[in-house]
């Protein structure tokens, strides 16, 4: 056993134990670690956003636009003027801050409407392509492949599974009779998929736990190797 003299590792180890202590129950040690974690993360998030978004995106681009205007006036190209468009984001952000003033707080809804509306519109197309059209294209498979029994079985499982899964998610009809049977088969397919996914994810979580254990017993306490 060889304890590390690194103070940073000691803090990391003690805080890890603090969070793990929640397994025993809520306690002052956990409350301290929780408060510290939340406070530090919120502060870190604020600083990161300030430098990577507010400064790096808005301030820098407006600065470029301003410099271009000072040096070239109206003779600059269209692309140079596009730097000014970042100020639009700044205005929307400013409008959000108006929530702090109850009388004019309603103006902040304009920013919300813009953000939610434009992003939803963008997602509509990307979802339609990735979750819709490409899935359909990849699921259109031959029902029978001559001389290849296993591929035929595999294709049939994919087609039947997808068809029955879609039947389960058909909300306009009650799950009764043949339709209900197909939907039940669909939920079987889903549950088998979820089971496999569960096992896979649990294994990846185990690797995270192993990483923490390695930190405590190896890096911090020096008990490994």
């Amino acid at each position: 056993m060889h304890l590390t003299p690194d103070i940073g590792i000691w803090i990391g180890g003690l805080l890890t134990l603090g969070i793990f202590s929640f397994l025993y129950g809520d306690n002052p040690y956990y409350k301290f670690c929780e408060a510290l974690f939340i406070g530090v993360s919120a502060g870190h998030w604020f600083v990161t956003l300030f430098w990577t978004v507010f400064v790096a995106k808005m301030i820098r681009n407006v600065e470029i636009g301003l410099n271009t205007f000072i040096t070239q006036g109206f003779s600059a190209g269209m692309a140079d003027y596009m730097h000014w468009s970042y100020i639009f984001g700044g205005i929307l952000g400013f409008l959000m801050l108006l929530r702090l003033f109850p009388k004019i707080g309603w103006i902040s809804r304009w920013s919300l409407a813009f953000v939610v509306g434009t992003t939803s519109g963008y997602y509509f197309i990307t979802y339609l392509v990735s979750n819709g059209l490409r899935q359909i294209q990849r699921t259109i498979l031959p029902l029978y492949v001559h001389g290849d029994f296993y591929t035929t079985i595999g294709n049939l499982i994919i087609i039947v599974g997808t068809f029955c899964g879609l039947t389960y998610f058909f909300f306009s009809k009650e799950h009764k009779g043949t339709f209900g049977g197909l939907a039940r088969l669909g939920i079987w397919f889903l549950m088998i998929t979820f089971g496999a996914s569960f096992g896979y994810t649990v294994m990846s979580r185990m690797s995270l736990l192993i990483g923490r254990m390695d930190y405590i017993f190896g890096t911090w306490l020096g008990m490994l190797g």
Binding site: I19, F22, G25, D26, Y30, K31, C33, E34, F37, I38, V40, S41, A42, H44, W45, G77, A79, M96, R99, R109, L112, V115, V116, T119, S120, Y123, F124, I125, Y127, L128, V129, G132, L133, R134, I136, Q137, T139, I140, L141, P142, L143, Y144, I159, T162, F163, L166, T167, F169, F170, F171, S172, K173, E174, L190, F194, G195, S197, F198, T201, R205
Partner: protein, 406 residues
């Protein structure tokens, strides 16, 4: 005797040497010197604007040199040369490997960039076939200029899908607005909402509503807002407090607006407490630590996990289970659904979350879009069957109908 034999060997060797020297220098042995010859030039040069782009790119095609592959002078590469004058000034743009017969000569639209490629300017191209020793130039291509297209033909299928879906949606919204009854099958998770809120009211404990880690524009989060509105209205009617810890500041603002409007709708605006819908932090596991703390300290009677969830799903659901809360979950994150199925009482699987918002809200807009989705699914199911049959008979055109070029 031995001397005689040695003389015969000498004569044989002499004639053999003479034979090799003679034939080695004869014109018929050209194949040993093939590399010094230049390869035949590439043929049939074509240059045209690259389709489906914003301009700033020209595509060049050519027929491979007859010496590419099995000819006398095997080609090892092609060089693409460009000029704005057909007679001079050709400079190398790129080198491609043997066997390649197309190249997209493109650049950027920024004039100041070194990689600037002007649109609406004529360019001429030649291709040089290089062998180990020697090279040959093709003819000059006809002039070509780059220009942008307004319509991307590779995305036609997206347009068609959008139009079909929009027509369905408008059709069903109109029907719903006219008062036609649009049937939606009951969902177990949603049927349990009344019971869950009633339990919280009886126990005198709050309801915890988690919107997940999504942004305000994620489909799952938007669906969750609609459900939150409905649940908030019920909690206002039952005078049961609702806590909504948020991971994203914009989500928090939308949630505050949603709950406030629900309390107003229920006729109890005075009961609305803005502090109950609060921002915690945007960092995933710090947020989890905070919500876990709330669960074990406040002991909410009911926990709702509706929205977009990632690795925190199981941690939250397990803590809620230990705290003895009744739990209703729903997400469209496929990898997280198994954890919710295992650790919560009711789970809305994937699209059930979107359906739940329409089922609870009963608003024509939501009902219409849900019905349109169902019709869309019916079309997909038909396409799967027809596509399977078409693929079985090698009718590839059907699969190509769904091909998207981005």
């Amino acid at each position: 005797m031995n001397m005689n034999k040695s003389f015969h060997y000498f004569l044989f060797s002499f004639f053999l040497s003479f034979f090799f020297v003679f034939f080695a220098n004869s014109p018929a042995s050209d194949f040993s010197n093939t590399s010094v010859q230049a390869p035949a030039p590439p043929l049939n040069m074509k240059a045209f604007d690259t389709p489906n782009d914003n301009g700033h790119s020209i595509t060049i095609t050519w027929e491979l040199s007859p010496d590419d592959g099995a000819g006398k002078s095997n080609v090892i590469s092609y060089e693409i040369l460009r000029s704005d004058n057909p007679d001079s000034g050709f400079v190398v743009r790129r080198m491609v490997a043997a066997g390649v017969n197309t190249y997209e000569d493109g650049g950027v639209k920024e004039k100041k960039s070194e990689d600037y490629f002007p649109s609406h300017k004529n360019f001429y191209y030649r291709v040089r076939a290089n062998a180990e020793k020697g090279s040959s130039l093709s003819d000059v291509s006809p002039p070509a200029y780059a220009y942008g297209q307004l319509f991307h033909t590779g995305r036609t299928v997206i347009l068609v899908a959008c139009v079909i879906f929009t027509v369905f949606t408008i059709m069903f919204i109109r029907k719903a607005k006219k008062g036609e009854e649009l049937y939606i099958r009951p969902l177990a998770g949603i049927e349990a909402v009344d019971e869950a809120i009633g339990r919280a009211t009886e126990m005198g404990k709050p309801i915890l509503y988690i919107l997940g880690l999504g942004t305000a524009a994620d489909v799952a989060t938007i669906a969750s807002f609609t459900i939150l509105a409905r649940i908030s209205k019920m909690t206002a009617e039952y005078r049961t407090p609702i806590l909504v810890p948020c991971n994203d500041p914009i989500v928090m603002i939308v949630a505050q607006e949603t709950v406030k409007a629900a309390y107003l709708d229920a006729g109890r605006p005075e009961m609305y407490k803005e502090d109950n819908i609060f921002y915690v932090t945007s960092m995933q596991f710090a947020y989890v630590a905070a919500v876990n703390g709330i669960m074990v300290r406040e002991r909410p009677a009911t926990n709702f996990y509706l929205g977009k969830f990632y690795a925190e799903s199981l941690i939250l659901a397990e803590t809620g289970s230990v705290a003895g809360s009744i739990q209703i979950s729903g997400t469209d994150e496929i990898a997280q659904i198994p954890f919710f199925v295992a650790a919560t009482d009711y789970t809305l699987i994937g699209e059930e979350l979107y359906a739940a918002s329409a089922y609870l809200g009963k608003e024509p807009l939501l009902l219409g879009s849900l019905k349109a989705q169902d019709w869309g699914k019916a079309l997909v199911m038909i396409s799967l069957i027809l596509g399977g049959l078409a693929a079985s008979f090698h009718l590839d055109f059907f699969i190509k109908l769904f091909a998207v070029k981005l």
